[in-house]
């Protein structure tokens, strides 16, 4: 199936998605990767407020290349999401609806995705130029000292994504290869 979704995202909007479906995402997407996650965790520990509202938000694990003059962003493909696993269940419990990245997640993250009715979407790893073309606006909203790891607010249009983890326990990294191997009679 193919879905066009607009942020902010509700549980009801994400419920029909299944691992392997295609999503074209439009609206606001926030960026954070390793260093920004560490700072967000420290802020929450100190009782502070995060630089963006988590409820219904989409979070993209990305560290773009510097933008050329007149362009919103440089190449902007996903980074490996598993490095953020330790921070993720807490953010999902606080209302984070959607994560965008690449690569396997921990059992705790999968469980938390189901519990909170969230989704983990895959952007094509290494397709930095293609994904940059979906970004209409980009502004740094926190921690500019982190450079490519600073938190950015992106406005995206029809970002092509694949459902990796759905709210019903589906995991494309398990079901996708298994379906292919079954079709080959190798399983």
């Amino acid at each position: 199936m193919r879905y066009a979704l607009q942020t902010p995202l509700s549980r009801e909007m994400l419920d029909p998605l299944r691992a392997g479906d295609t999503v074209l995402l439009s609206g606001t997407v926030y960026t954070a990767r390793d260093a920004a996650h560490a700072r967000m965790a420290a802020l929450l520990d100190a009782g502070g407020e995060l630089p963006f509202p988590l409820r219904g938000a989409a979070l993209y694990y990305v560290g773009p290349t510097p933008e050329r003059p007149g362009r919103p962003i440089g190449a902007a493909g996903p980074t490996t999401a598993g490095r953020m696993d330790g921070y993720t269940p807490r953010l999902l419990a606080l209302g984070l609806a959607c994560m965008i990245g690449k690569g396997k997640r921990s059992a705790a993250v999968k469980e938390s995705v189901v519990q909170n009715g969230a989704v983990y979407l895959g952007a094509i790893g290494g397709a930095g130029a293609l994904l940059a073309a979906c970004v209409e606006r980009c502004e740094i909203i926190a921690w500019p000292d982190l450079g490519c790891e600073a938190v950015r607010r992106l406005t995206v249009k029809d970002m092509p994504l694949t459902v990796l983890l759905d709210a019903h326990g589906g995991d494309l990294y398990e079901s996708g290869p298994a379906a292919w191997l079954a079709a080959q009679g190798r399983e």
């Binding site: 440089g74 190449a75 895959g122 094509i124 397709a127 130029a129 490519c148 990294y173």
Partner: protein, 281 residues
Amino acid sequence: MSVRTIPAAAITQTVERLCIEANTQLPADVRAALDHAAATEPWPLARQTLGLLQQNLCAARENDLPICQDTGMACVFLELGQDAHIEGDLAAAVDEGVRRGYEKAYLRRSVTADPLRRVNTGDNTPAFLTVHLVPGSGCRVTVVPKGAGSENMSRLAMLKPADGVQGVKAFVLETVRLAGSNPCPPIVLGIGIGGTFDGCAALAKRALLRPLDVPNKDPRYAALEAELLEAVNALGIGPQGFGGKTTCLGVAIEQRPTHVACLPVAVNVSCHVTRRAAADV
């Protein structure tokens, strides 16, 4: 014997140019392997994904962008003739080339000055420089920007000699299975067999310099490359780990003599954006 003098500034210029070229144009052999995979992949989601990777290469060219946002650590290999004399500071010249190339082409600075303090150096230096002395007076420079998604999935094992080629194969397949979707498949594998603990890892990285359509010169190792390629593709991980026929675009093995008690094997995993650019100074 005459000594050829090479000004360090010439090295800087070449490194600068190669950093930009490597990050914006996929080597012809990697592109050909990707096109072949896209044309022969039967699984629909896998074919669609490989199509997006081809579109990405076009988008990079049309919009003057790097192919991937992880423009990597700048691994620089120098084949330096022993009759060549570098006038100036070689390491500083290479770093300056990296600094200029990454600045000029808006490439990402991804290097942290210290592994525990984690402060970005801000200019993607230092370069990771390997110099090999060779006969003659030439100077061949190869720049290999290496991304972390695949670098992090790389592994090394000190096998027992009794483990033999079966042990090597099992370790390579285990490495690919553990890596799964993380290194951005379809992957390329550089494999080192033999040597010392540290030398084996260097062999694996060096194997990534060989074009995918050039097999190992030793027929036994060439056959092992072909066998491993087939075995890895039979895992069914597929492009991006979504399942399919295409998990790996190429396998290159480099082997060296080793101790009677040793069988080191190192697997340096690389992604579908396996980049390298080379030129003579």
